[in-house]
């Protein structure tokens, strides 16, 4: 499923909203999550999952092809941890 399909599925459930409004809402939602992570905040959506930022220290990397050393700057990496409810739902049918 891609974003436009998500928007279409949601819009179907809200017939009184324009599809472009639903699109704006989905984009706003994703932007807010990204902005929060940019501030170093954690976004916790209980039942779904939590977005957080992990700090990666600067390190000396290596080009795997040439073996050459390259300096890798410190950076922040986004991280998602699946929520309990969703994790359980993903495995509801496989568990005996």
């Amino acid at each position: 499923m891609i974003k436009s399909e998500l928007v279409a599925r949601v819009a179907e459930l809200y017939p009184h909203l324009y599809q472009r409004d639903v699109e704006a809402i989905v984009n706003r939602l994703l932007d807010e999550i990204g902005d929060a992570m940019g501030r170093g905040d954690r976004v916790e959506l209980r039942g779904f999952g939590a977005f957080s930022v992990k700090r990666r220290d600067a390190r000396i990397g290596r080009n795997p092809r040439t073996g050459e050393s390259v300096a890798v700057a410190r950076k922040n990496a986004p991280f998602f941890k699946t929520g309990k409810e969703l994790r359980d739902r993903l495995n509801a049918d496989t568990r005996k």
């Binding site: 499923m1 891609i2 974003k3 998500l6 599925r9 949601v10 459930l13 809200y14 409004d21 639903v22 704006a24 809402i25 989905v26 706003r28 939602l29 994703l30 807010e32 999550i33 990204g34 902005d35 929060a36 992570m37 940019g38 501030r39 170093g40 905040d41 954690r42 976004v43 916790e44 959506l45 209980r46 039942g47 779904f48 999952g49 977005f51 930022v53 700057a73 410190r74 950076k75 922040n76 990496a77 986004p78 991280f79 998602f80 699946t82 969703l86 994790r87 739902r89 993903l90 495995n91 509801a92 496989t94 568990r95």
Partner: protein, 102 residues
């Protein structure tokens, strides 16, 4: 880094301000969006949200694990796990906002 936690309430406030939907309908809409994403994933569909990232369902085989504290062997059942791959746009945003170049 402020290290705060953003919740559904903050997100629905943002949506409320964006479109002028009522607060309760904004909250409901967010629930629907998360629900549709979840349903797709549970159905085995990957979810790709351009300029944000992809949620990918992966099948893990069963294996014998070990309790690191007791050394006891425990079977780990085959299971499905969800991984999130952030898009380049999101990675850049996170580093730019934090004042780091990417």
């Amino acid at each position: 880094m402020t290290g705060k936690t953003v919740t559904r309430a903050d997100l629905s406030e943002a949506v409320h301000n964006e479109i002028g939907l009522s607060r309760s309908e904004s909250a409901q809409l967010i629930e629907t969006v998360l629900g549709e994403i979840s349903d797709a994933l549970v159905g085995g569909e990957d979810v790709k949200l351009s300029s944000f990232g992809s949620f990918i369902v992966r099948q893990k085989n069963g294996r014998i694990g070990r309790n690191p504290k007791t050394g006891e062997e425990v079977p780990i059942n085959p299971r499905r796990v969800l991984t999130f791959r952030a898009s380049h746009v999101l990675k850049e945003k996170i580093n730019k906002l934090a004042g780091l170049s990417s």
